[in-house]
Symmetry: C2
């Protein structure tokens, strides 16, 4: 089933009519998932509604301070239709990515679902869907909705929604930063968003062990190839052990490869617990997009940021396969 | 002489009436100095005026691409009053910091000077002065002036002015980022500022040698002290030699200390060519400002970012003196 994409004016009016909701987002929540889920709960509470957020996984440590005061369930209710008017799913593009925890079916027919997202190709099954791919973050869509229905934005809601925008735009560095994104951020600052708290949590909170891990990664495990146009880091398990570093916390590591002058394509490879090789890819040049490369290996993603997981090979084997594909582009 | 600070409306009207100017900025120009000086020249040219920029030092390599097409003088004219209506000094707080090159007196009486800046305490001697300390960047003031006098902002001017705003706000991460700053940036994007070119030049152009230098700095030459609240890097000369790194290009190095979780005060020390010790200081906590600390040692700066140069001591001696001062704060 593909649900019809509602105009934001209509979707906002549906939001306005909901009095008591359960908010869900995607597994392994990032800054925009948390910012938009918790921010929507704060927004609704600030406008005399009731909202809880279902987060079956613990909130990542660096974002924990933002969750204070929000009503969070770690276990899904057995019969949500008895407790809530509707579910609202934010920032999640696929049914199987909804973080609902054990024993909770998703999608489901027994309760209305409002699906708000900015990922193109969103396929969440919902009664109401509002997907705006031009928005830099789901949090940005929620601010627009709040304005359309004349809702107040409390300082806590403003902080959480700005967290979503800042993390999804790399603090306004990525190309998804549009004039509207900057104006929305300006509006959130005027609503007393705590920008310093966000910047401190996102950019000035690197554990010293991660810093040392990164230093050794760029020194010892990073190779520049094709006249410096290709930077590839292959992370051995021992490096993670040495610094007790979990690659799940390594979503920004590839930035250390991307920042090198002259690099057009950056790749980061590591082995997962189930002995597959996970590859992250970034391009700095629209003429050498990594999206098609990732898809040719069975992965996916955007043109400039993509990824793929390879089974049946070790790290060096995967690096060799990847280098072969990169050689066709550079 | 302290010149009266003009209202921006009045200053903008003076700008409007100038037809042929020479633009100056401060020595060792950073992103806002170059962005506002070159951006003002592009802005004036786009509005049927004549403008040249005096840059006696070469433009730093990473910004060179932005200077293309702007009329730049590397040597000051002997009699500027014969060639120009006025001088415009941008982003420069003190007469002795104006980059004019050999044989050019500044300040001077033979030509009118318009002084546009955002540094509090600006003491440039000028006929007309417009200092707005609440602006995040001088470039931001220039956009406001352009709007006041209804000037077009060409794509090149927009790019240069956005460069100034992005570099002076750490890409909207520093606390000088205000709603007005974000709205000004939005307006520049709408005027076709080349955001990708700016981000690429400022954030994705680190020479590999500098990356390796930084990695070794954080690994081997950085000490955490006072329960991890103080991070201090002492850069030996050999490290610079090893990577052929010039500390003049190291203005962002201290960010690698500031980003560490738990650090409240960061310090970077290195020896200058004339055997003095230069100290950069950053604070992450308003309760432990580094401004007073720097001033107590004879230096200066803002509360959260300051610096001092010590003579008559070596690196280790300076580090010991500094640690003594820091111990009073932590």
């Amino acid at each position: 089933m593909i649900t019809r994409n509602l105009d934001i004016v209509y979707a906002a009016d549906i939001l306005r009519q909901l009095d008591n909701v359960l908010i869900l987002t995607h597994v392994k929540p990032d800054g925009d998932a948390l910012g938009s889920a918790l921010g929507l709960a704060a927004l609704m509470r600030g406008n005399m509604r009731h909202a809880k957020v279902l987060l079956p996984e613990p909130v990542p440590e660096k974002y924990r301070i933002f969750a204070e005061g929000v009503d969070i369930l770690t276990q899904a209710p057995e019969n949500p239709e008895d407790e809530f008017d509707a579910l609202i799913v934010v920032d999640c593009a696929a049914n199987e990515r909804v973080a609902a925890g054990a024993g909770f079916d998703f999608p489901r027919e027994d309760i209305s679902i409002l699906n708000i997202d900015h990922h193109p190709g969103n396929a969440v099954k919902a009664e109401w869907t509002c997907v705006l791919p031009e928005a830099a973050a789901t949090a940005e869509i929620l601010v627009r909705m709040a304005n359309l229905i004349d809702w107040d934005i409390t300082p806590q809601a403003a902080t959480l929604l700005l967290l979503g925008i800042i993390t999804d735009t790399g603090c306004f560095r990525f190309s998804n930063t549009k004039p509207e994104t900057l104006r929305t951020a300006a509006e959130l600052l005027e609503n007393d968003a705590d920008q310093a708290m966000i910047i401190d949590a996102v950019y000035f909170s690197m554990p010293r062990s991660q810093q040392l891990f990164t230093a050794e990664m760029v020194q010892t495990h990073t190779v520049l190839d094709f006249d410096g146009q290709y930077a590839c880091a292959v992370i051995p398990e021992e490096l993670c052990k040495k610094y007790q570093f979990n690659m799940r916390d390594g979503e920004t590591l590839i930035e250390s490869l991307r920042e090198i002058r002259g690099v057009k394509i950056a790749a980061l490879l590591y082995q997962t617990a189930d002995k597959k090789v996970k590859i992250s890819l970034r391009s700095k040049d629209p003429e050498t997009p990594v999206g098609p490369l990732a898809r040719s290996l069975g992965g996916g993603g955007h043109e400039m940021a993509a990824g793929v997981t390879l089974g049946d090979c070790d790290l060096q084997g995967a690096a060799a396969i990847l280098r072969g594909e990169v050689s066709k582009l550079l």
